[in-house]
């Protein structure tokens, strides 16, 4: 039987110091099954006592060939796979795919669909940041934040379940709009989230922001400067914590983000504490955006009415021959966009998420490539962790908020 081969130290020697080969420093394996690596991340560390000299991330344990699989499915079916990548921001994965398909087919989502998309995206960002604040504080020994964060995250997942029937793998956003309109209870549920959230964020801050133990473990650790961050293609809160107010929602607005009034929080320190402050402030801004979007939620259709790309509503199929034919053609053959390649980007909680989509004029995408924000974040682990303690390495992994499904795809 073919065994999975292991790296030898010889193959990796160009990544370590010469002392590692002679045995003066210790090469230690961390992960892939380790409670603080947030999934199946493996780090090969070179240690001098307790100090990390080098760190070699080894990824791919969650690689499921999603890009290859998407190339073998029609455009509608391929979307279902996108949920499975960044499992903390499933709505965003759907959205970037839909934006690319809409760019390719020149569909336009209606105003109501855009507003609901924004609400859903910001709620997704909130729940992703909630899990991050819980687990990264847990890694540093602050247990109670995790329990509070999970309590609030449940409220958001309940909204997802209400609109799509699923808590995580929603596939709610579809090319040309949404799967269907939100139910009547939706507004009240989101209103409740908006009401309780600012106070709850204050509670997390009361537990962490001025906590001396938390500050000792985070200030001045895992530092990166703006120039390095840009050269290594780092985006999202990690880049904003170095002082650059770069956010795709402002730079290249999508889904009507330009209509909403929000700020891009920045810090100048570039360390774990800076990333923490940026993310907490982002949660407050997300609540602001949800509130604005909900207050001016327009009425109207939630799907484009081009029957060549968007399935007709159920009510029409029974009475209209054309609707029935379009429905049949769409779900058996799929739709055929024009030939060409597009690139669409959105701001995920971890940074810029992009999708390169190429069509060859068949009902299946010819090439799909997700530019995921976690890959560059993991790539700079050697830079962030050089010279820190092993215990601080745990804090650094937590602070860059990696999702391994996002890196491995």
């Amino acid at each position: 039987m073919r065994e999975i081969q292991e790296f030898t130290l010889d193959e990796l020697k160009h990544l370590f110091t010469p002392q590692a080969i002679t045995g003066e420093t210790m090469v230690l394996n961390m992960g892939p099954q380790h409670p603080s690596t947030h999934g199946v991340l493996r780090l090969i560390l070179e240690l001098d006592g307790e100090i990390v000299l080098n760190c070699v991330p080894d990824i791919g344990y969650l690689h499921t060939g999603i890009e290859k699989n998407m190339e073998a499915k029609t455009y509608q079916k391929a979307e279902v796979l996108t949920d499975r990548m960044d499992y903390m921001y499933t709505m965003g994965n759907n959205l970037v795919y839909c934006l690319a398909v809409e760019k390719l087919t020149e569909l336009k989502s209606p105003a109501r669909a855009d507003a609901i998309r924004v609400i859903m995206l910001e709620l997704s960002r909130l729940q992703s940041h909630l899990l991050w604040i819980g687990t990264s504080a847990l890694d540093l020994g602050a247990m109670s934040v995790f329990l509070y964060a999970m309590r609030e995250r449940e409220m958001i997942l309940d909204v997802f379940e209400m609109v799509s029937g699923q808590r995580m793998m929603t596939t709610y956003i579809r090319p040309g709009g949404l799967w269907r309109d939100v139910p009547a209870e939706f507004e009240a549920a989101v209103k409740q989230i908006i009401e309780v959230f600012p106070k709850r964020i204050d509670q997390y801050e009361a537990l962490l922001t001025k906590n001396p133990l938390f500050m000792d473990r985070t200030k001045g650790i895992g530092k990166i400067d703006t120039k390095t961050a840009l050269a290594w293609d780092v985006t999202g809160p990690t880049l904003r914590a170095t002082g650059i107010a770069h956010d795709v929602r402002k730079a290249n607005p999508y889904c009507g983000y330009e209509q909403y009034d929000f700020e891009i929080p920045t810090q100048t320190t570039g360390d774990i504490y800076g990333r923490y402050k940026v993310r907490v402030e982002e949660m407050r801004q997300s609540v602001r955006i949800v509130e604005q979007a909900l207050n001016k939620l327009p009425y109207g259709p939630v799907r484009d009415n081009n029957p060549k790309f968007v399935p007709p509503p159920r009510s029409e199929i029974g009475v209209s021959m054309e609707a029935l034919i379009h429905h049949f053609k769409l779900w058996t053959e799929g739709f055929i966009p024009s030939v060409g390649a597009v690139y669409a980007t959105i701001e995920s909680p971890r940074g810029e998420m992009g999708l390169f989509l190429e069509s060859d004029g068949s009902p299946k995408p010819y090439r799909v490539h997700y530019r995921t924000p976690s890959v560059p974040l993991l790539q700079i682990m050697p830079i962030l962790s050089k010279g820190c303690f092993v215990a601080d390495l745990i804090g650094i992994i937590g602070s860059i908020d990696i999702v391994l499904g996002d890196t491995d795809r």
Binding site: I4, E11, L230, I244, A251, Y343, G354, D408
Partner: protein, 170 residues
């Protein structure tokens, strides 16, 4: 085309013999593979494209020359614009110079392309497989690599089935 892009596009087009095309406002320049590093350096130093946002490859099998396109998507944090380069490569032993010298983050992106597409990057500092195990055979994202529907192998018949299993092009 956005007028902020025009000087960069014109420079690459005239200096490196690039072919410009535009689709849904995305500007793509087809640059010869041997000039891609020089063109990217010019783009970074003279036109403020400070990020390599994505790097990937497309396989046009069964077409053989060019069979692959290596796609580079650059981003400017000043103008918030994207610009795409494509470098065509032939099918037999595809190889191109590494972008790592210009944008260090190309390191993992190129390891991923080598892993899944089998394109070799000359001068790369650490060209190992990124996602698949080191002893994997074939490059799965190539169009001639079978998708699936393989027979399930058990310990008692592993070798028998292994003989007739599709392996893709090695």
């Amino acid at each position: 085309m956005n007028e902020l892009l025009t000087p960069a596009v014109f420079a690459i087009q005239s200096r490196y013999n690039g072919q410009v095309s535009e689709f849904r406002e995305d500007v793509t320049i087809l640059v010869p593979a041997d000039k891609i590093i020089a063109a990217a350096t010019v783009l970074r130093d003279e036109f403020d494209f400070d990020m390599l946002s994505a790097e990937t490859a497309v396989d046009y099998c069964p077409q053989t020359s060019p069979r692959f396109h290596v796609v580079y998507i650059f981003y400017s944090t000043k103008t918030h614009l994207y610009l795409t380069f494509r470098a065509p490569l032939n099918g037999d032993n595809p190889s191109i110079a590494t972008m790592e010298t210009v944008f260090p983050n190309a390191n993992w992106r190129e390891r991923e392309i080598w892993d899944l597409m089998g394109i070799h990057f000359e001068g790369h500092s650490d060209l190992r497989r990124l996602l698949l195990p080191p002893n994997w055979e074939g490059h799965p994202l190539r169009k001639d690599y079978p998708l699936g529907y393989e027979e399930v192998q058990y310990t008692f018949n592993f070798d028998d089935i292994d003989l007739r299993k599709p392996k893709g092009v090695r």
